[in-house]
Each structure stands twice: as C-alpha cells, then as structure tokens.
C-alpha cells in the first residue's frame, strides 16, 4: 500500500482513488514527463535513443505477459507469438489492403488477440503446466510455420520469411514515423496509453475477476466468477497488447523477420516480469529497465575488457544469456517479489525513518 505523509486527508472518494494523490506526486510526474518528452530526445544520441526504443518495446511486450502471469495466473511461455503475428498482420494489411498505419495497428492487435485466444482455448479444461505447454506450442507453430512459411512470403516484399519495410511507410496523418526520435515519441505515447489502460483495467470488475482466478480459481468459480469467459478475455487482451507491441516494433526496423520473435524472446519477457515483480503494476517497467540497461552496461564493460581478452568480444551473446539466466535464478532465490517490491521497501524505509515501521 502507498503510505502518505501524516496529515494528508481526502474529502471525497474521487481524490482518494486518484492515481496521483498529492500535489508532490503531480510535480514528480510532470518532472518525469518533462524529462521523457524533452530532455531525453534532445540530449540522448541516436544510439541511446535506440536503447530507449528497445526498452519501450520490452515494456510494451512484457505488459501482456504481466497481465497473463501476474494478474490472471496463466503462465505463458509463448508471448512472442502474438507479438510477431500482430507485427506481420499489421505490415501485411498495409501492403495488401493499403490501409493506413493506425488501422493496421488495430488489425495487428485483433490478429494477436485472436491468435492468443485460439491457443488459450485449452484453458477451459486444463491449467498450470498444460497452459505452459499450449503457449509453447503457440510459439513454435506461429513463428516456425505460420510466419516463416505463409505470412512472410505473402506480400512478395523481401525474401523468404522476411518482410521489408519501406522508408516512410508508417505515418499517422502528416506525422511520418521514420527516425529513431519519431519512434521514441510513438513509443512514449503507446507506453503511457497502455499503462494507463492496464492500471485502470485492474481496478474494474474484469481486473478483480482476473485476480480472483489467479489467487484461487475454484474459489472464484464458487463465488460466481465466470472463469472461462475471463480467462478467454485475459488471453485475448494480452494477445492484443502483444500485437500492439509488434506494431510498434515495425516502426523501429527496416525489415521484420520471424527471427525477431524466437522462443528465447518469450522466455526473456517472462524473465523481465520476474525480475521486475510479478503482479505489480510497475514490475514490467522496472524489469525492462533492468534487463535493457544491464545489457548496455555489459557492452560498455566489454569494450575495455576485450582489448585484454580478444576472444571475449565475440562472445557477447553468450555472456548476455549467462547474466540473464543467473539474474533470473538469483532474483527468484533471494528476492522473489522483484525490483518493484524492493523499490517499495526502500521508499517506505525513508518515509518512516527513523522508525522501523
């Protein structure tokens, strides 16, 4: 729970339920938005903008995983599939139907949601490990067969399963999303909208039903929650969020290939929310920041080290996996609640200081 300083009181429920309750929070958030919208794009170079775009893509992609694992309790290990499917559906609908980008985004979201829904169908009868299996099946069937063999070659742009993206193809009205800076602003808009959407969704009847299913699905059913409907809804919405992430991914790339959505990416996303905090509204953000920035720091550390150990530079990929695997395992053993919990503890410590509680 959020703790407020002594003497803060609210006169109505509206103020009590607000996301930003105090004036100080408003100031902090405006400062954050000012930094995000003005300071970073002005002073960050092209490379770091790319890093931030990757960070935003990870947040967008992990959001659906957070919804499924953290809030509905349906463990998914195939979330890269709706992401890739959404990306391909968006690009293909733009090529074949000639629709504008925003309509393509809607189609991509719908496609990702439907894919996730179809492979979520076994959740009527089974749960737990078997849901993991069906989502893994979704991963392999979608990436290795549907995208590579059928959707990729469909438009005839690019070679094999790879779709080429024409420069300036993505535009919203007169605003062409072409440079990294454009993609950065588009990412900020999407992340803010989706975060707002998800935070509010979890406060509604739907969100409460999901959390009831997560905590104990039999009890939830006994209390009158239609668990089949809500599980389907969770799969659909998570898939649609994945599709949106895929549609965003298109704007940062010059090609889109099935290889962008491997099984490792699905696992990576689950790792992101585990490190950030499962079932926390900010968990995927902290996790994405940790993972993306950790990679950059490894890269920065490798540059001086590789002059001493020349073989090290070629092994960045393995080192990345090494630290990622180790980070997941150590977080699970020593801090199972993730960075969000740690951040909350730290904040509370300073709020309550000098008292322990």
């Amino acid at each position: 729970m959020l703790r407020l300083p002594c003497g803060t009181k609210f006169d109505n429920y509206r103020a009590d339920h607000a996301w930003w309750q105090t004036r100080w929070t408003w100031i902090k958030m405006f400062l954050l938005f000012f930094i995000l919208f003005f300071i970073i794009p002005r002073f960050a170079g092209e490379y770091w903008l790319g890093v931030f775009n990757m960070l935003g893509y990870t947040i967008l992609a992990a959001m659906g995983v957070q919804l499924l694992i953290g809030y509905t309790g349906q463990v998914t290990l195939g979330h890269a599939a709706p992401i890739g499917f959404g990306a391909f559906a968006c690009a293909l609908s733009m090529y074949l139907l000639g629709v504008p980008y925003l309509v393509g985004v809607l189609i991509g979201m719908l496609a990702g949601g439907l894919l996730s829904f179809v492979f979520g169908l076994p959740c009527i009868k089974v749960k737990g490990f078997y849901i993991i299996m069906t989502t893994m099946a979704m991963q392999f069937i979608t990436t290795d067969i549907i995208l590579t063999q059928f959707l990729g070659p469909l438009a005839g742009k690019g070679r094999g399963g790879v779709l080429a993206i024409e420069p300036g193809m993505f535009h919203i009205g007169p605003w062409v999303i072409y440079t990294d800076k454009d993609a950065y602003y588009w990412m900020l808009i999407l992340v803010i909208i989706m975060q707002w959407f998800m935070a509010n969704l979890m406060r509604t009847r739907v969100g409460r039903a999901w959390m009831a299913i997560r905590d104990n699905d039999i009890a939830a059913e006994a209390l009158g929650v239609n668990i089949v409907y809500y599980k389907f809804l969770a799969f659909f919405i998570a898939g649609a969020m994945g599709g949106l992430a895929g549609c965003y991914w298109l704007t940062t790339q010059s090609i889109v290939s099935p290889e962008h959505f491997p099984f490792a990416w699905s696992l990576w996303l689950v790792g992101v929310i585990l490190i950030g905090g499962v079932g926390s509204m900010y968990g995927h953000i902290y996790g994405a920041m940790f993972m993306t920035l950790m990679l950059e720091f490894i890269k920065l550390a490798l540059v001086p080290l590789s002059s001493a150990f020349p073989t090290l530079a070629g092994k960045f990929l393995f080192l990345k996996d090494f630290f990622f695997g180790l980070a997941i395992v150590l977080f699970l053993i020593f801090e199972p609640n993730g960075l969000a919990y740690r951040w909350w503890r730290t904040k509370r410590y300073f709020q309550l200081w000098p008292f322990p509680y």
Partner: protein, 294 residues
C-alpha cells in the same frame, strides 16, 4: 509400404533417445513436482562432456561412463545450489528457475565449447545401413536405441530393487508420509537430479552421434515435453511410451505431411498432436487425474 515401415522403425528407434530425455524429465517431475524446462540443456551438457572425453582419445564407452560421473556431479551441484533454496516456493518460481538455468547452462556450454557444430570423429557407429529384407535402417539409430533401452532397464530396476529407488517412489507418492517414515527428502532430490542429468546426458551423447552437437540439441529437450504430456506427466512408463510415440510422429509428419506444408513440420507436428490429445484426455494416457479440493 516399405517406406512406411522404414519411417515407422526409424521413428521408433529415434524415439528411444527421446524416451531417455523424457525419463529424465519425468523422474524430476514425479519425485519433486518441478517442471524442468532445462532438460534440453542437461542433454547438451551430457553430449558435450562425452564429446570432450571422446576427443581426448578415450573409447566411446569409457567416455560415456566418465560423462555419467561428471553429469552426476553437475546434478548434485544444481540441486544444492539452485533447487534446494526453492523448496516450498510457488510452482511458477520453480519453473522459472529452471528457465533461468536453461539460459545459464546454454551460455556456459557455448562459452566453453563455442557455437560451432561438433562431430564425433572418428565416427563411432558405421555409416552403412542394416538391411532386414527390404527395409533399411541406419546403424546409429539401432545402437542408440539399444543403449537407450539398456539405460531405461537399469533405471527401472533401480527404482524397483534398490533402497534409494524405493525411497524415491515413496516420496513421489506422498512426500509428507515418506518424510515421516524417515526418508530424507533432500537425499531423494539429490538422486533425482543426478539420475535426470545422467539419463539426459546419455541421450545427448547419442544425439551428438546422429546429427553432431550444437545449440539445437537443446531444442530436443523441448520436444520431449509433448512426450511426457501424452504419456501422462507422473508416469515413468508413460514417458517412455510417449518418447517412442514422439519419435514415430515426428518421422511420419516429416515424411507424409511436410510435402504439403514446407518446413518446420517435423518439430511442430508433435505439438499439434499434443494439443489434440490434451483436448481429449487432459491428463495424458497414464497420468494421475487430479481432483482438487478446497
């Protein structure tokens, strides 16, 4: 018809290797309830260790035995360092520990041995196929199948004859009751991981003889999941039958379906069959049907 028989038999023989991996998976699940998504990496480690020993000039069987020793040490270490702290944690956390381990192991293997494909040289099994009437079978497959079958026989005898095997069965049946009868759960888990490492390692060494060793060996570990699901997750014979079935399905799919759907069918067909079976029999062929109470 001859082609069908060949496909069937080769699939069955290949299935022996999958059955080994499935066995390693099912033992862990049965005794400790941990869903081990790092099975493919255990396979890879075994394969590479055996390869290294073989490259040092040891005969293949000695290399295999040496691999078993090293694999069991790895098993003990893994259990002690990563799995034991997770006892009593929620299921998802333990699964994700194994996912983390899979990244970790894969990275360690690639850091040590590199990402290039390694082939056992000189070849261990001759290239000429065996002929049984009109049917031709690769010798690699036959010997691999035999080794796998021997290993499975040893393991099943181990389960039914030795003290620790019986303790493992008791723990699988009811952990609390077994502990109150004086069975040390940590010892059982240690043996479980040792055996899993060894079974997967043998499969890895054999797979390395068929296709050569590279990172893709670890994906074989994923393929085993449909095998255990079809067989029923907490059934050892189910895992073996499921493994054989996956081998056959894979070969049939590769021969008869991939002409119509180019590429990838070989690896996805078992998953598709698995989904269909799950819709019809959600607990597999021999799995325990769980009745949940509040």
């Amino acid at each position: 018809m001859v082609e069908f028989a060949e496909v069937l038999i080769t699939g069955l023989l290949l299935g022996g290797i999958y059955a080994c991996i499935a066995l390693g998976w099912a033992i862990i699940y049965k005794t400790s309830g941990v869903i081990n998504l790092a099975t493919g990496e255990l396979t890879m480690i075994g394969g590479y260790v055996c390869f290294s020993l073989y490259e040092k000039g040891l005969p293949f069987l000695v290399a295999l035995l040496g691999m078993l020793v090293i694999a069991s040490i790895c098993g003990i270490l893994t259990e002690r360092l990563f799995i034991r702290p997770m006892i009593g944690e929620p299921l998802l956390s333990v699964i994700m520990v194994t996912v983390g381990l899979s990244f970790f192991f894969k990275a360690v293997v690639c850091l040590i041995w590199g990402a290039d494909t390694r082939v056992f040289t000189p070849r261990i099994f001759p290239l000429e196929p065996l002929t049984l009437g009109p049917i031709e079978i690769g010798q690699v497959f036959l010997y691999s199948f035999l080794v796998a079958i021997v290993l499975m026989g040893v393991l099943i005898a181990f389960f039914q004859k030795t003290r620790i095997g019986l303790a493992m069965q008791a723990t699988a049946d009811d952990e609390m009751a077994a502990m109150s009868m004086g069975i040390k759960a940590s010892l059982v888990y240690r043996w479980t991981w040792m055996i899993a490492f060894m079974a997967c390692g043998v499969a890895g060494a054999l797979l390395g003889n068929i296709n050569g060793l590279n990172v893709s060996v670890s994906y074989m570990g994923l393929l085993v999941l449909p095998a255990v699901v079809i067989g029923g997750m907490n059934s050892i014979p189910g895992a073996v039958v499921g493994g054989l079935l996956i081998g056959v399905l894979q070969n049939l799919g590769d021969t008869y379906i991939s002409p119509f759907f180019p590429g990838g069918v070989k690896f996805t067909f078992p998953f598709i069959v698995m989904i269909i079976i799950m819709l019809w029999k959600p607990y597999g062929l021999w799995g325990w049907i769980k009745i949940e109470r509040m």
